[in-house]
Structures are given as C-alpha cells and as structure tokens.
C-alpha cells in the first residue's frame, strides 16, 4: 500500500512532465504532420542553460525559466524558419530526417561544449523532503508537478481562448481553408514550433534540480513523449496530457512491483494496440484541439 501510494505520487510528477513535453510533440505533429526528433534535445539544451545560469550567476532554477523558456521558443522558431520552412512541401519523411540531422548536430555541440560527462544542479532547499502520510516527495518534485500542469493548462488555454490559438487549430485542421480565411500559415507554423520548443524548455528547467544532464538525455524523454502522444492521439492536447500521465504512472507503478522491463512491455504493447485498433489514439481526436 505504501509502495503503491508512493509510486502514484512520483508517477504523477513525472507523468505531468511527460505530458508537458508530449503537448509540444502533439502541437508540432498537428501543424506539420511530423514528429520533431529535435524536441528532446531542445529540452537538453534548456537543461544545460539552467545549469550554466546557476553555475555562473547563481540564478535560482525556477527564475531561470524567464530565460530558458523564451530562448527555447526562439530555438524552435529558428529551426522551423531556417530549415523546415523551405522543405515544408516535400515528403514528410524528408522533414523528419532534417530534424534527425539537427539533433545529431546539437548532440555533437553538447559533447564539444560539455563532454560526455553528466552535470547535476542541486539546491539544498529543493531537495528537502515533504512528508504527506506514507508519501515523501521533494520540494523540486512538487514544483515540477505544479508548473508542468500549469504549462499544459496555459497551452490549452492559449489554443482555445486566443485568436492566434484558434488560427493554429484551424491551420492544423485544414491548412488550405485556414489560408483562405486569411491565416498566415507560415507564421502559424513558426510560432507553433516555438511554442512546442518552449514546453521542452520548461520541462528541461523543471527536471534539472532532480535529474542530471548529459548530451544524450533527450533521447529517452523524446521516446516516452512520443509513446504518450501516440497512445493519447497524435495532434491532440488532451491526448498528450492523458498519454503523458499514463506513461509516468505506468513506469513508476510497475517499477515499484516488478523489474524495469515490465513498463516498456506494457507501454509499447499499448502503443502497438492503439495503432492497430484505434489509430487516432485513445482520445480519438485528429487535430490540435
């Protein structure tokens, strides 16, 4: 019982981080119909940035959000404008390969700048345990849970309540019709990529006080975000939220009772089942909604 309660609590923390990261993958998949492989490495970039800001200027990791999120936004938009825009009409596979190439370049840049070593950022006040009955969580985990759910909610609100958000959804649903209605779809895509990368930036910063950064840290997270998005429904925001939480909870709960292989079998099994019998995802939506 204690194990289950604790597994649910930490599963929720990491699930919400996966959900936020997945919402970015879903947004990019919605407007561009591709999976952006660079997404995980943008997260790693934000982790290095958070680490540098703390190391050089002793900036609190949560205050560094003011830098890491806009910079990640800029990085995502730049990736779209400089590379993907020109190739946007080509085969989607070409676009995916471009993002794969960019990922390799980013990874090499991390290796050159920081070597293959792992770097950690620890603040004693954030490591402090909070005891809630049988469950113990750290201050950093509480922050991660709260801020990542807030991030997902903000993204949802932006897409549904603002004019620009509605333009993104319109472009995702039917690009041609959106263009006819006067939506600048190139701008929509650039901003969508920026927004999606901003979610990766926020995840990176929230992760830094409780994990470590290496040049390859992005792969593992991208993989699970991808699984979450497929399970939840490609291009669906609520799907990303549900998928992300499911991945986090499944990893944590199975880890508490079985070996680490079980969660992979379960989640990939579920992903394949979804693709076979419910290809639009568990939430059954087709576009960014």
């Amino acid at each position: 019982m204690v194990i289950l309660a604790q597994a649910l609590a930490t599963g929720l923390v990491f699930g919400s981080l996966y959900a936020l990261l997945s919402s970015g993958v879903a947004l990019q998949a919605g407007v561009m119909k591709i999976i952006n492989i660079t997404h995980g490495h943008v997260m790693a970039f934000a982790m290095y940035l958070t680490w540098e800001l703390h190391r050089r200027y002793a900036i609190d990791p949560y205050l560094s959000v003011a830098v890491t999120v806009p910079v990640s936004f800029g990085l995502g938009s730049a990736i779209y404008i400089l590379f993907l825009h020109t190739a946007r009409t080509r085969d989607p596979l070409n676009l995916v390969i471009i993002t794969l190439g960019l990922t390799a370049i980013l990874e090499s840049a991390f290796l050159i700048a920081y070597s293959a070593d792992l770097h950690t950022l620890r603040v004693a006040s954030l490591d402090r345990p909070i005891v809630l009955g049988p469950v113990i969580v750290s201050v950093a985990q509480v922050f991660a849970l709260g801020l990542s759910l807030l991030g997902v909610a903000a993204m949802y609100a932006f897409l549904h309540l603002t004019y620009f958000g509605r333009a993104i959804r319109a472009a995702a649903e039917n690009e041609y019709a959106a263009r006819l209605m006067g939506v600048d779809t190139s701008r929509v895509r650039a901003i969508s990529f920026g927004l999606a990368s901003a979610t990766a930036g926020l995840v990176g910063t929230l992760l830094m006080p409780m994990f470590h950064v290496t040049p390859v840290v992005g792969w593992e997270f991208l993989l699970w975000a991808f699984v979450a998005v497929v399970i939840g429904g490609l291009g669906s925001m609520t799907g990303a939220l549900v998928g992300g939480l499911l991945v986090g909870l499944a990893q944590s709960v199975t880890g508490g009772f079985f070996t680490g292989h079980v969660s992979a079998v379960l989640l990939f099994g579920l992903m394949i089942a979804v693709l076979l019998w419910h290809p639009e995802g568990l939430l059954g939506e087709r576009a960014v909604r």
Binding site: V2, I3, Q6, T10, L118, P129, I136, H212, Q251, G260
Partner: protein, 407 residues
C-alpha cells in the same frame, strides 16, 4: 645455363631463410617488439590516453632496469596500433602488428566489445594476447589458447561484494542479518548480484528483496520504497554512475538510513562531486587506490609528474600488464610467440615479487582459461575527505565507520 643460375639463387635464398628463421630467436639481441592495440582515436580515445602513457612508462622502466635479462639485456620496443575505437579495425591492427612489425606479444586495454574481436585475430595469428583491462563474462569462455586477461570476470567480482559486506557487518558488531539487494537490470548488474546474493545466503544472511531497475529511468522512488519496506539492515547495490547518484539522493529523501555496499562505480570522482558531503560513510570497491602503500604509489607519483594527469585504475592495469609480458619473455628466454604463450600459461609470480605492483593481489598466475585468478579487490569507505581502505585487513588504513551513512 640461365635457368640453372636461377635455380641456384632460389636454393641459396631458401637455405638462408631456413637458417635465419631457425636461428632467429636464439641470436636476437635486437629490441623485443610488443604490440599495443589501443583506441587512440575515435569515441574512446580520451580514456585510452592513460593506457598509452602507462605502457610507455612501463617500457621505459623495464629498459632502464636492464631490459630483458634472459635475452642479453634486449630492450623492449613498443609498437602502437590504433583500433580507432572499432572492433574490426582492432582485429586488422593485430594482424598488421604480427605480419609487418613481427611483434612477440600483443596487449589491449578496453572495452570488452573490442577485445572480443581483436583477440580472435590474435588467436588466428597465434600471438599471445593480454587483455589488461577488459573483463567481459564471455571472453575467457571461448577456449582460446593465446588469450590471457589480467582481471577476473565481472561475474566473479560479485563474490567480493559479498565478502566486503560480511566483513563490514562483522566489524560493526555482526547484528545486520537482513540484506536488501538493488541492481540495474542488464547483464552487468544481474550477474554481479546473482553471485553475491548466493554467497550471502550461504553465509546465513536473509535477502529481503532483490530489485532490478532500468538505469535510464529518471526516477527510482518506487523501487527505493520497495527496498525500504523490506526492512533491510544493510543494502547491496550494483549500478552505473548516473543511477548511483539518483539512488543516493532517493535513499536520503526517503530516509533509508542503512549502510550501502556498492560495487565500484562510486570511486568515480564525478560521484563524489555530485553527491557532495553526503558521500561520507559510503562503501565501494576498487582494484587499487593511490592511498594504498606499495610500489604502485611510486609509479603513480612518477606518472603524474611526467604526464600531468592522475594515474587511474586503467593506467595501473596497463602498467602491470607490460611487466607481466616482460616476465613471460624472461621465462621463455625467447621472442618466439609459441614459447612466450607457453611461458604465460605457466607463469607463477609470487605475491612478494617486486614486479607484482598490486599489494592486494595474490601474485600473478593464469588459469586454463587464461584468467589471472590472483586479482583481489579493496573494500573502501569514504571517511573524512577521501576513500580509505577498510578491507582486506592487512592493507586496511582504518576500521569501517559503523554509524549511519545518511545523517
């Protein structure tokens, strides 16, 4: 007439070739060539710099001490081959070293994946091959005749974790009977803990739980809660570096305040840097640390002076390895590869030999699989700003600190 002259010439050449090849080893007073196949470029190059430096220092020391006495003081000449961090290239380099440079023996460093392939080439070329660092489980199980390795296989090393745990328990009053086991789930973690767990159960310990986890996981809270709920008195842990750090933090956060015996990753300076003062009281294992008094301490000092970098455990193994090859050539009294192989297979260097640099090893001797079974480990505890040897007793610098490692 022309044809007869040609025939004479060919005959003379053949005779000359037979004579030189028969007399070659006995008359050789030229340098004795030893080949080193190291990943000098590529992904592993950074780690191999220490191997190359250590090999050069060992050769220089041997030559300064009079070279190979049995061959009239012949000097050793190192010939370096670059594996480019790639197994196929490593195998090609082995063949080149034999066929172009005519080396007497070959040594490699790490990783086991490259050693597995390059040692096949050595077997084909019939050249004695000493793996100084690699210790993969399958390497000595292939029935090779020319393969030798300085370290015991990983699976055997698990025995030492059990021995260290038992020693720490007894030194701390012998009241810890319940052992919780946590390990990463690949072959490395599984094989280590399998043998350690069996040894502990034979010694009368109760294994409360055995938890395998994914080392890439960003969170191990649920696993540690399961470990804590099994109420262990002491924990046995096999992990890689990143998850060692994560486990340490999770133990601390969840209040698991029992001693943890860990199988060798914590010796990495990055571990100490990451966990900070919380390292106090941690246990780990190593083949060598520079605080152990003995001949390696002097080598380490000279190495650091010459190359400006610390003498690490890999460099130490390579340094020792060159001296092992030297001893086998002395024993063979020849540079003939077959004779050197036979000498290596029957080599018995006693522990008090000045050229057994590891004071904790039981000399040097290879079993029928080519494994140097004399390798012994040190049990270490972090006490007051450094790793201190606590086991085995003859080499111990201090007694284990039995108070809770997580205050």
């Amino acid at each position: 007439m022309t044809q007869r002259r040609r025939g004479w010439g060919a005959g003379l050449l053949t005779i000359a070739w037979i004579v030189t090849s028969l007399a070659g080893p006995a008359l050789a007073q030229g340098p004795v060539k030893i080949g080193f196949v190291f990943p000098l470029t590529g992904a592993l190059a950074l780690g191999a710099v220490g191997s190359k430096n250590a090999a050069e220092l060992a050769v220089a020391d041997i030559n300064a001490a009079g070279g190979i006495a049995a061959l009239g003081g012949s000097r050793i000449e190192p010939v370096f081959g670059d594996s480019q961090s790639d197994p196929t290239t490593a195998a090609r380099e082995v063949s080149n070293l034999v066929n172009r440079s005519n080396v007497t023996a070959i040594m490699d460093t790490f990783p086991s994946g490259i050693t597995a392939v390059s040692s096949q080439a050595a077997e084909r070329e019939r050249v004695p091959f000493l793996a100084a660092v690699s210790y993969g489980k399958v390497l000595p199980e292939r029935g090779f005749k020319y393969y030798f390795q300085l370290q015991v296989p990983a699976v055997v090393a698990g025995v030492y974790d059990a021995e260290i745990l038992d020693f720490v328990n007894k030194a701390c009053g012998g009241r810890w009977k319940r052992v919780g086991v946590i390990h990463e789930q690949t072959e490395y973690g599984t094989s280590f803990t399998e043998i350690a767990t069996r040894k502990l159960q034979e010694a009368g310990y109760t294994v409360t739980t055995r938890i395998a986890y994914d080392a890439k996981s960003p969170d191990l809270t649920a696993q540690v809660v399961r470990l804590r709920e099994s109420r262990p008195d002491i924990v046995l842990q096999t992990s890689y570096l990143p998850d060692s750090i994560l486990l340490k933090e999770t133990f601390k956060r969840l209040g698991l305040r029992v001693p943890v015996i860990e199988s060798g990753q914590k010796i990495d300076p990055r571990y100490v840097k990451a966990v900070g003062p919380a390292v106090e009281g941690d246990f780990t294992r190593a083949t060598w640390v520079d605080s152990v008094k003995g001949p390696l301490q002097d080598v380490a000092r000279r190495y650091s002076q010459k190359y400006g970098t610390p003498f690490d455990s890999v460099s130490a193994l390579v340094y020792q390895g060159v001296w092992v090859l030297k001893a086998s050539i002395e024993k063979a009294k020849s540079t003939d590869r077959e004779a050197v192989r036979t000498a290596l297979a029957s080599l018995k260097v006693p522990a008090d030999d000045p050229h057994v640099f590891y004071r904790n090893w039981n000399g040097i001797a290879f079993d029928e699989r080519g494994v140097n079974t004399t390798e012994r480990f040190l049990g270490l505890q972090w006490q007051d700003r450094g790793w201190r040897v606590v086991w085995p007793t003859p080499l111990a610098e201090t007694k284990p600190n039995c108070t809770s490692p997580l205050k």
